[in-house]
């Protein structure tokens, strides 16, 4: 809990530091702040406590989610090189501050015990993301992404709020625990029907955030338009936080109402798998491919909530972690390559600009390959166990067909992830040695190694989750 206070303060102080210090220093300071906040987060381990008028609850699960989020933020900061097109007119301190604030929002989303906290957390995160998405002010693509994200995001906020209101109307409470007890103790017949509408609307609101089909339309466009570093931020932190919130709600309060939401979620998860994976196949742009891939991963995660028995959090946590590690690496390499190619080719983010990367940049190529393998769920990488745990978990709850579909779709997944690997290793291309800053390189290898270590010895973190 202290972490969110600290992070807020850090964010504010960051704004001031921007007056005096150069970008490098601020980056280091921000990293330090994140390390401190992670330490603070860990200090709550095994203390299940309620804060802020019982609106905020720290449990080990929420701490784990917060840690994954902060870790992701840490890497995003480490991978940040420049914001926007010209470095001079941007103010890195502000971006770092916004990132820190949005991490606060994300942590609120994973630890809420009251609807207001959920809403506020979501909005802190979203509003920050609208800003970051549009931060490349002169780039029309960035503008378009921002307005799309903003309009659809606020629209969904309206939906979510309407849902929350209806649930409040039926249960007279915003407290998760209260709502849970009330819903459990009331016979379904005596519940007002608008309650069900409310429940569905809340779920829809969160499904939008995790970009489940058919609420995924914004994802590819926004991911593509936003500056890559913020795409990285969105695809890891926003996704993890939103899914944690969804999982918390579904398992916590709506568990007794599963008849209402389970079928829609069941079908939505399958639809998401199909749409995400199939659409990714044809993409020429790595960034857009990763966007669809993130949709498909939402599909896998949704498998865990598509049954009346709720999955254990550990497989979700493991999946989120492995997904986060692999995704940040993929985007990081994309940043480097597209930056290098931006002056040389028309579409620097396409697969074609990766061609021949391995020749002069074996390290980058390896990192990228491992991240692709992890996303594809090939053994030796964390992604394999992530999928494995999800599948076995889902299977154990007797969800058969979606798992079979998911497995078929992961075969499709191999197809598009391998397009990246093929481009890197097997196609001829001219890419000179790309200069990589030390910090960047360290972060890259840290994530890659993490992916492999988790792939070989998953118990390392699985036992904690």
């Amino acid at each position: 809990m202290t972490a969110i206070i600290a992070l807020s303060l850090f964010g504010i102080s960051n704004l001031f530091l921007g007056f005096w210090f150069p970008r490098k220093t601020i980056q280091m300071v921000t990293l330090l702040f994140l390390v401190v906040s992670m330490a603070l987060t860990v200090s709550d381990w095994n203390h299940e406590l309620l804060w802020f008028g019982n609106m905020f609850r720290t449990t080990n699960t929420s701490i784990n989610f917060s840690l994954i989020i902060q870790l992701a933020a840490f890497f995003v900061v480490a991978f940040s090189k420049a914001f926007g097109q010209d470095d001079e007119h941007t103010h890195p301190a502000e971006y770092y501050a916004i990132m820190l604030f949005s991490v606060v929002g994300a942590i609120l989303m994973v630890s809420f015990d009251h609807m207001i906290v959920l809403f506020v957390g979501l909005e802190i995160l979203s509003v920050a993301m609208y800003v970051l998405t549009g931060s490349d002010k002169r780039n029309l693509r960035s503008n378009e992404a921002a307005i799309k994200y903003f309009l659809m995001g606020s629209f969904t906020t309206g939906i979510l709020l309407f849902g929350i209101t209806l649930v409040y109307g039926a249960t007279h409470s915003f407290y998760i625990s209260n709502i849970g007890t009330i819903l459990t103790n009331t016979a379904p017949e005596s519940m007002p029907s608008f309650l069900f509408i409310g429940v569905l609307l809340i779920i829809v609101g969160l499904l939008f955030k995790v970009s489940a089909a058919p609420f995924h339309f914004w994802t590819p466009d926004v991911y593509e338009g936003a500056p890559t570093i913020f795409t990285m931020f969105m695809s890891t932190i926003v996704k993890t936080a939103s899914f944690a919130a969804l999982f918390h709600l579904v398992s916590g309060i709506f568990g007794s109402l599963y008849t209402v939401w389970v079928l829609p979620v069941y079908f939505i998860s399958m639809l998401t798998l199909v749409v995400g994976n199939i659409s990714a196949v044809y993409q020429q742009s790595v960034k857009r491919m990763l966007a669809f891939s993130s949709i498909s991963h939402a599909g896998y995660l949704l498998l865990t909530v598509s049954s009346k028995q709720i999955s254990t959090t550990s497989s979700i946590l493991y999946y989120s972690l492995s997904y986060t590690l692999a995704t940040v690496v993929a985007f990081a390499v994309l940043i480097l390559v597209s930056e290098y190619q931006s002056a040389r080719v028309e579409k620097p983010e396409n697969f074609s600009s990766f061609e021949g990367l391995a020749k002069n940049n074996p390290g980058l190529a390896l990192c990228f390959t491992i991240s692709m393998l992890s996303l594809a769920g090939i053994p030796l990488t964390a992604g394999f166990w992530g999928k494995f745990f999800i599948f076995s978990d889902t299977f154990s709850r007797n969800i058969i067909y979606p798992v079979i579909l998911a497995i078929l779709m992961s075969a499709v997944g191999i197809y598009y992830y391998f397009k990246g690997i093929i481009a890197v290793y097997l196609k001829a291309g001219e890419i000179e040695k790309i200069e990589v800053p030390v910090l960047f390189k360290m972060a890259l290898w840290a994530c890659t190694l993490g992916t492999i270590i988790l792939g070989v010895y998953p118990s390392l973190v699985k036992s904690v989750f």
Binding site: M115, I116, F119, V120, E123, V127, Y130, V131, G134, K137, R138, L140, R141, N143, E144, A145, A146, I147, K148, F150, L151, S154, F155, T157, G158, I159, L161, F162, I164, T165, L166, Y168, G169, H172, S173, F174, F194, P220, D221, V222, E224, G225
Partner: protein
């Protein structure tokens, strides 16, 4: 002297819900039909206000202040959203001299 909740309870709860829902749906329709970014945004605000109205109604109906507190939160957040939203719209206007959302479809497929 009737207390406010009692007055409010004279009208069945369903009517409040119906009214708010109607407002909410009008908002949605606005979003769907308009192409001007500002008007779309105003429609979204209308949706939020429908929510606010409903929250206030529930709150008063049950004599539970938390609903109204929520309304304040929504207002505050909406204000922040407006700030950001308008900034985005202004930015776009500067770039393309238009705020027609139909024009912005370069990112697709």
């Amino acid at each position: 002297m009737q207390s406010i909740p009692e007055i409010i309870r004279t009208i069945p709860l369903t009517n409040y819900i119906m009214l708010s829902s109607a407002l909410f749906c009008i908002g949605i329709l606005g979003v769907l039909t308009r192409r001007n970014a500002i008007i779309v945004f105003m429609a979204i605000e209308l949706m939020l206000n429908a929510v606010n109205l409903l929250l206030a109604a529930f709150s008063s109906y049950y004599s539970d202040p938390s609903g109204q507190i929520f309304v304040f939160f929504i207002m505050a957040v909406a204000a922040a959203e407006v700030a950001v939203g308008l900034a985005i719209i202004v930015m776009i206007y500067r770039n393309i001299q238009s705020i027609d959302i139909g024009v912005l479809n370069k990112l697709k497929n």
